[in-house]
Symmetry: C2
Subunit: 359 residues, 2 copies
């Protein structure tokens, strides 16, 4: 990826051509598998990219928070799945009701208490709220075990919620570099069980929604009717190991400047943890891949410093470098805008719109 030499740093630079190629590749894979694509917008939090995903025949967007859903709905991207066990108490009740009125909304649920709040929020609106039961496929984060899906779904139906299916997240695919296929199999198994549990309760075939970028690259297969990859739009250093994305597929780099080179074989970049984020899976060494010095390691991050060690060719103060971050989702969340480049020229600036607290 070519970037302009005079960039102010740190900056997030997106290669428009690679982004487009990543969107087209995922569209083709979903189409070939007969699976609907509902990409996770938490990765980019960017309306411009959401619109491109929808143009590439995404059935809608997935988001993680109510605030993200509100943002995309305001921008006209109104087929939205909040794939999260949303708490809709307090002031959220009116916000959720308003969003439900204006958007084609689906919400995740994994407890009776939260289901009650969702039903209360929807009670003032003209139609029932669509929900998907979250099933735990092995990450052991949120979600009920497969054997509890039928019970929770029946409770939700009694509360007046419109149960349309189940969803899962095979997040344990990220725990080891060779665990992707097993996590994908775990998810297929959990969603198969959930589908069986729901078949007797619903009058339509259930939506069975799953997938993350690594498991979707591993194959979109039945029982999944819907896939929710996020990171595929940009890729990152993790995905180079987990999804087989090549360096030439990575559509986002952090442009950073060498600000200090006080010791032989070392350099300090201005992309600290407030630019690169501290995310690092235990199986990955260092805090990003410096394309100008792939042999080196970003050994230590502090807030505004990244200490690079093991340089074979020295980097000099003032040099501009490109860093592929470990985990792009948390990196984008730290930025205000994405600089879009084509042939080394900035052609666009896209705002990152949905940073927050609160959610």
């Amino acid at each position: 990826m070519h970037i302009p030499a005079d960039l102010d740093t740190p900056a997030l630079v997106v290669d428009g051509g690679r982004l487009e190629a990543n969107l087209a590749r995922m569209e083709a894979a979903a189409s070939a598998a007969g699976v609907e694509l509902r990409p996770h917008a938490k990765t980019h939090k960017c309306v411009e990219i959401a619109r491109r995903q929808l143009a590439h025949r995404a059935a809608g967007l997935t988001v993680a928070t109510l605030a993200e859903a509100e943002l995309f709905a305001r921008a006209g991207c109104d087929r939205l799945f909040i794939a999260y066990p949303l708490w809709a108490g307090g002031a959220r009740r009116a916000r959720l009701a308003a969003l439900h009125e204006r958007a084609e909304l689906r919400v995740g649920v994994d407890s009776l208490v939260a289901a009650g709040q969702l039903a209360a929020a929807a009670s003032s609106t003209a139609r029932p709220l669509q929900v998907l039961i979250e099933v735990d496929c092995g990450q052991h984060r949120t979600g009920v075990p497969p054997q509890d899906v039928a019970g929770l779904a029946a409770d939700c139906l009694r509360l007046g919620l419109d149960v349309i299916g189940a969803f899962s997240h095979p997040g344990h695919a990220y725990l080891a570099v060779d665990g992707v296929a097993a996590a994908a199999a775990d998810e297929r198994s959990a969603l198969t069980a959930a589908g069986t549990a729901l078949a007797g309760l619903l009058d339509r075939p259930p939506v069975l929604s799953g997938g993350s970028t690594p498991t979707v690259y591993d194959g979109m297969a039945r029982p999944l009717t819907e896939a929710r990859p996020g990171t595929y739009v940009f890729g990152d250093r993790q995905q180079m190991y987990l999804s087989g994305m090549a360096e030439g597929d990575i559509a986002l780099v952090v442009a950073a400047r060498v600000v200090s080179a006080p010791r032989p074989g070392e350099a300090v970049l201005d992309s600290g943890s407030k630019a690169l984020s501290g995310d690092r899976p235990p199986w990955l060494t260092g805090h990003g891949l410096v394309l100008e010095a792939p042999e080196a390691t970003i050994d230590v991050l502090s807030e505004e410093h990244a200490v690079v060690r093991g340089l074979r060719t020295p980097l000099a103060v003032g040099d501009l470098v490109r860093v592929i971050p470990n985990h792009v989702c948390t990196v984008v969340n730290l930025a205000r805008e994405l600089l879009v480049v084509s042939d080394g020229v900035v052609t666009d600036r896209w705002p990152v719109s949905s940073r927050r607290t609160a959610s």
Copy 2:
């Protein structure tokens, strides 16, 4: 700290009384030691708090980036030290010159190349730019070794820069829970050597600027003429170990909601790494202290989930909890605003103003 029950979460809540007590305590300590206070504003990035620090007799503010300096200067806080080896090439040249014209600016330097860019930026202005030589006191991040201070200072003077002193950051105080006193001693030693090196070159006694919250709590002692603590305004979980701050001194918590409780002894909060940040020193277990369940561990963070394990008293879906974050500086950087509470009532909302990229 009492917080309102109906808060939307995740949210950053500041206890106004505790904040004021922390400011007063640091003012008194600096005054007793005869050391000027120039607190680091990267912790709060908040004009309201900067003004309170100045009201508590801070000599000025420290910042880490040009963008932070510009922000505080615009707000009228114009005695500013960019304690960072600032790169002033490209479009930065005009920005730095403009800031130098309007503010009482000091900038850090640790290389001849960066010094040349600083001098070029200042050359269009009416007066020389004040710089401090960064000396490495043992963190081995940026800064020159003490024996190189005289040479770099002489080079800076030849370039027309106004060398007024040296600064250091004893960041290695954070590497181990029992390393604070040794890091503080390292810094005193490095600044003593820097002071000796500069004494023959300057016609005024040099500014010798150091300190972080832990080493400043350990004592503000000569040769330091200036201290730059940042985290003391709020405190955090790290500072409870490193600085001896008590739980009752901690002025900021992350308010979070239990969104799922799928397994006995566990609960999932909505404060993931996009709220709590992933910062965790190796000597600290877990990603924050849940005040409602101090026996438990925030074991795993994903972007919008915090998985709490080891609960002795169950937390229920919908419960509101307060989390003392590990490292408050990276947490505030993720937020849009700080909710100020007094006796459990929100009395103010202060914007966090200087999030970015670029810097």
